[in-house]
């Protein structure tokens, strides 16, 4: 698998979350995602970016374009230096919320992409890495 063109965006305001959605949609279009696939990955990015802002106190998103023989994909890495998550399993479960949301953001985002990894711990900040492939490129 080869990687190319890494793009880094700040996430420190609602306006920048809109910028994240825009950039992820453009990356998904460039990777040849269908409309449904674009919508899924952009929605996942919107949820994760909002987590970075609301729970992590702001951070950054790195977008990496991936390429393998079956096709192109995109990897999104959301990183913040916030308080971190003590109990990842609970945070991922549906309906669990620390704020006023629906509690579906993290778990929902995981269902919208093909690969999902979270690296976090109390005081360590949180890094969520997700990878999305269009249908034709999913089989390894």
């Amino acid at each position: 698998m080869t990687t190319a063109a890494v793009m880094s965006l700040p996430i420190t305001s609602d306006l920048e979350i809109a910028g994240v959605r825009q950039a992820v949609r453009e990356a998904a279009v460039a990777a040849g995602f269908s409309l449904v696939e674009q919508t899924k990955v952009v929605t996942a990015a919107s949820e994760l970016a909002r987590n970075t802002l609301v729970h992590g106190g702001g951070g950054r998103l790195e977008i990496t374009m991936l390429e393998r023989p079956q096709g192109k994909g995109i990897r999104l890495r959301f990183r913040d230096e916030g308080p971190g998550i003590a109990d990842v399993e609970t945070a991922l479960s549906d309906g669990y919320t620390t704020g006023h949301g629906l509690g579906l953001g993290l778990g929902g985002a995981r269902r919208l992409v093909q690969e999902f990894a979270i690296d976090t711990g109390p005081g360590r900040g949180t890094t969520v890495t997700v990878t999305a492939w269009p249908r034709g490129a999913r089989r390894v």
Binding site: A18, V36, T39, K40, V42, T43, E47, G101, L104
Partner: protein, 283 residues
Amino acid sequence: MTVAESSGAAAVAEFLRARREQLAQQWADLALFRAVYTSGRDIAVNAAHGLVDALTEVARDGRMDDVTVPALDQVRALLAQVIAARSQAGAGPLQVAGEVAELKRPVIAMVGRELADVNRGAALIAATDLMGTVRLVGMEISLSDEGAIVARQRQQLSEIATPVLKLWDRVVAVPLIGTLDSARTQVVMETLLEAIVDERATVAILDITGVPLVDTVVAQHLMKTALAVRLMGARCVVSGIRPQIAQTIVQLGIDLGDITTRATLADALEWALAQVGTSVGRA
């Protein structure tokens, strides 16, 4: 602060005090003042006096390149007036920054000409620092001004972009277009609830055909709006749910509960007409 720096600052303070009138006369002819105080040159000179005096205070304080000194507050207030007038007249932030930068030239020219003694080098550096700070303050003002304009336009846009349409007797609809954030939702909810009262509506249609993405926050906004509509005694139907949005909502795990939904606005209208007891045959 080194000895040379403080002697430079002191020399500039003394220079500004002594050359107050000449400098104000020169500044009054520059675009920044001329374009704002169009009613008379005297008024422009007067405003320039104010700025010279404020800068004299900064030079007396001695910290020429520190944008946080309290002595700069007066400079900031004076520049804010002038810059606000310039941007209202349509000058962009770059043009205004250029006009603020022009203030420097007469100061440096006069300091270079008049302070021939040993202090000249230090005084020139101090004067350059001071005018650089003025430029920075000007930049800061025009950028925050720009921010205020963007915020205002956003506000206007959110109001313009949410018309409530009366589709039928007792049926109102809001076609939502673009991202549904908290501020938009608030406006939509207010205008919709008012329309329900004004039109004595019993059905409200929220059409999201123009909403590119429904994430958990947007869904929550829709549910709150639907709940508010129900509290007003009307029924709410969400229409314009496109296939990709439907699939995403399902995978996110959002349960829209008992909100009635329809694929298209036409379907929603048909449902609404049935609710108000009217039926229209399809061609």
